[in-house]
């Protein structure tokens, strides 16, 4: 059984590698390289996989999942400038891919259950663009 919970956060970022000049960053990241930053309303869909507990009928406690998402993702990232305020993005370029990897890393250690595992992190940067990350394979 797959269980998916959604969360939203709004944040600004710059996609640029400080080791590269402006022209190269523009070629690789397009408008996302604007050094002053810009923002998105990110939508996160976290999917857990497991068998429902025979007593509770639940794969994972949704209230606990909500608390984990708030603590690990929404509280630290919502209304923040990712490059300046949210590690490791002072040194890792906050592309949608890298933000999804970081969210996976933060959540994987928190989903402590014998019957559920983190299966997928889907992160929408806009309505028209999202990434799916299922951990290192």
């Amino acid at each position: 059984m797959l269980l998916t919970r959604k969360a939203e956060f709004s944040a600004s970022h710059v996609c640029a590698n400080p080791a590269w000049d402006d022209a190269r960053n523009r070629a690789v990241y397009g408008a996302n390289a604007n050094p002053n930053g810009h923002g998105h309303n990110y939508v996160l869909e976290v999917t857990l996989e497991g068998d429902p507990d025979p007593v509770t009928g639940m794969v994972f406690d949704l209230r606990e999942l909500k608390e984990i998402l708030n603590r690990e993702v929404v509280d630290p990232m919502d209304h923040r400038f990712l490059n300046r305020e949210v590690p490791p993005f002072e040194r890792v370029v906050p592309t949608t891919e890298n933000i999804a990897i970081e969210i996976w890393r933060r959540l994987a250690t928190q989903i402590r259950s014998p019957r559920a595992r983190l299966a997928n992190v889907r992160l929408y940067e806009t309505n028209d663009l999202y990434v799916d990350y299922g951990g290192e394979r």
Binding site: A27, V28, V93, A100, L129, V131
Partner: protein, 136 residues
Amino acid sequence: MRLTVRYRFAASHRLDTPALSSEENRALYGKCNNPHGHGHDYSLELTVEGPVGADGQVVNRGQLDALVRERVLARVDHKNLNVDVEEFRSLVPTTENLAEVIRQGLQAGWTLAPRLVRVEISETARNTFAWEAIEG
């Protein structure tokens, strides 16, 4: 890592196959058989899969957009599919066939590092068709 990007295009078509009589075509395709054609705002979602590179991306967005513009959008956006797209001179432009023509067109000119793993096309918000690569 998988990246999915949505593109949009508008096109007209008429569903009519020479394999059937006019009456049979009308019965089978209904309103879609209207001899004058009709149009849709199509939504096309493409999914690519690959490792995240040193730049933190699965694929350069500009290169993906350029490829889709050249291989798909330039051929179908604001076109009459039956008349303007060569493949549909001998193929009914159902959305199933459109998805397949788009997939073939993309794969024939694919120059990007990640693999194209999914092509999903919506004719309207109520009808969606998808092709998926077989795992592995």
